[in-house]
């Protein structure tokens, strides 16, 4: 699958014509020109981001590693067609990872995945939070995330954990900024409702 570069503002948004600053883009051009030394540097910069976001979205480390490898291979193949200044390499990579996650979930469900309607059952045996070694609180967050519909979870992870601006998320998810705002707001409210009953066990007390 050839993945087109995302825009910075998403669908229907006015694009900023200024070239984006993108150190990874410069490295990718050197890679395309045959420089043998940049692949390791690009991997060091980008693979952790791809793996982190895939783990949060899939809730499974082994699957997230497969997705990360596939996304990076697509990046290497895309290198010779890369258009500098159109989008950041990291934005493109996030987009590929998100689409691969959706495809993966769709395959798991026999070809059908309603992105907005299906809460995700948590894979308790191999939860990402467990693997992240971040204890019960991150476990609880991951468990709550997995109960969100797919697109809400993606938007929430990109906004609140990857800390990306809404226009960039719009480009990654191929939706409008308003849709991103709506997804993240609803997702955060749903998380708060899910976690409200677990305040005490998460170290918050009322009295």
């Amino acid at each position: 699958m050839s993945q087109p570069p995302p825009t910075q503002a998403g669908q229907g948004q006015a694009c900023d014509e200024r070239p984006v600053e993108d150190p990874e883009g410069a490295l990718l051009l050197r890679f395309a020109q045959g420089d043998p030394h940049v692949a390791a540097e690009l991997t060091r910069r980008l693979a952790p981001r791809a793996l982190g976001v895939a783990m949060r979205v899939l809730g499974n480390r082994a699957e997230a590693e497969d997705i990360t490898q596939e996304a990076m291979v697509r990046l290497w193949r895309q290198a010779e067609h890369w258009e500098p200044g159109r989008a950041r390499v990291s934005t493109w990579l996030y987009r590929v990872v998100m689409n691969l996650c959706i495809d993966h979930k769709r395959r798991q469900r026999g070809g059908h995945l309603d992105l907005d309607a299906i809460p995700e059952p948590e894979d308790t045996a191999q939860s990402a939070a467990e693997r992240l070694q971040d204890g019960a609180r991150q476990d609880a967050l991951q468990s709550a995330l997995m109960q969100l519909p797919e697109r809400q979870r993606q938007a929430v992870v990109l906004r609140h954990i990857e800390d990306l601006p809404n226009p960039e998320i719009a480009g990654i998810m191929d939706i409008s900024v308003e849709a991103v705002e709506s997804l993240t707001a609803r997702g955060k409210r749903a998380l708060a409702a899910i976690l409200a009953g677990r305040r005490a066990e998460l170290g918050y007390s009322d009295g």
Binding site: F31, G34, T43, L51, M72, D134, L141, H160, A196, S205
Partner: protein, 161 residues
């Protein structure tokens, strides 16, 4: 871990206003909890990529780079080969084919000689062959020919005498 107890103590139960206030504070608690968890999740980044995965990704990169370099090299060779093959399919190539079909360059030499002899016989037939020009009732002389045909007219007049 952050304890929000001191910052957001919930209201005491009792009365609708208290209930609404309590509900609002519950929301604040929940929002604060989610924000704290998000902040902790951000601190967990970046995810640690296992060495085997990193090595595998880099190996793929090297393989793709090598394949790309080989393809570029192959394209260069194909281009040069294409030029040669294009030379073999043009007008000259067709002419070479015709020459080969009639027996090569020696045959072409023979053909040229025969053609020249035929032309000569046509213009200056031997005495036992009727002159086609005279048969046509044309009185050919040097004055009938253009100036730039002087040499040819001279030859013709000499031969027909």
């Amino acid at each position: 871990m952050v304890d929000k107890t001191d910052r957001h103590a919930p209201g005491q139960p009792g009365g609708q206003a208290d209930a609404e206030q309590s509900r609002g504070e519950d929301d604040l608690f929940a929002d604060a909890l989610v924000d704290d968890l998000f902040a902790e999740a951000r601190d967990c980044r970046p995810a640690e990529v296992p060495v085997h995965l990193e090595q595998s990704i880099i190996r793929e990169a090297v393989a793709i780079q090598a394949a790309r370099a080989a393809a570029v090299q192959s394209q260069g060779a194909d281009w040069a080969k294409g030029r040669t093959e294009r030379g073999r399919t043009g007008l000259m190539a067709q002419l070479r084919g015709v020459i080969a079909a009639i027996g090569g360059w020696p045959a072409v030499g023979g053909l040229a000689t025969a053609s020249a002899a035929g032309l000569w016989i046509g213009l200056a037939p031997p005495s036992f062959i009727p002159d086609p020009v005279a048969l046509a009732g044309i009185d050919l002389s040097a004055s009938d020919l253009p100036d730039d045909s002087y040499d040819l007219a001279l030859v013709l007049s000499e031969e027909t005498e």
